[in-house]
Amino acid sequence: MDGVTITFYAFSTLIIIGAVMTITSRNAIGAVMSLVATFFGLAALYALLYAHFLAALQVLVYAGAIMVLFIFVVMVLNRDEIHPFSTRGWSSTFAWLVGVGSVLYLGVQLLSKLLNFTVSMSHQSGGAVLHRDAPPEDFGTVAAVGHLLFTDYLFAFEAVSILLLIAVIAAVVVARSHRSGAYEEPEAAVTESHGGHA
């Protein structure tokens, strides 16, 4: 057991515990905090995979920006749940079972296929396919990934930037009060904060 392996298992444990806590927590704030922990763990694993740039992005965008957004909304809307899992009526139970079954089936199938794939890759004639050695020096650095993004993926990059712009505008439009204007409607803010305290 070298240090890398220990690191991997430690962060894997963190990720799984965090994920499970995220989906089981009765309290939304707790769920968000667990999710932040999961994302940090994932960032660490990205770093293990030589994806340094993405590890940084994971911390900045996910654990930073997106989770702040979540917390903000949770603060506004949060209420503790008495029955966090939906089990109302036989049809809900049925959907519950179908959903859980499907998810597990998908997970197992995907896993088995991927593993199968890697195994077959490893046994390909003509030499090793999967590398166990360290990748080149600049693998996963900002310069290398940035170079890719601004050459081969320039179009996708620009498309995503436009998508983000649209998302920003859409978020403003959707979340805005549907009455004449948010600024002239103080009672809307009042009821919101009231809902938040309840």
């Binding site: 989906i23 994806a51 997106i66 693998f139 919101e192």
Partner: protein, 100 residues
Amino acid sequence: MIPVENFLVLAAVLFCIGGLGVVLRKNVLIILMSVELMLNAANLTLLAFARAHHDQHAHAFAFLVIAVAAAEAAVGLSIVVGIFRTRRTVQVDELTLMKH
């Protein structure tokens, strides 16, 4: 050196946990978070293979996935706020306006 299979197993488990969250929880916020979990599981798979093949193209994909996830979170959360404003709830089983 960690074998790539370890990462794949971890990603699959993460994906399942996210999927269960989507299916089981009633709170829209938790459901959105579970979706984020699933997206991250996909990202983890991408990066694991990138490392195994020494091919950085997957990094660009992962980058795009993160950007799209950010957009999704922004729009999704604003919808949640909008729904809460009119319906006073974020429980999906109470949001059954599309009922027959």
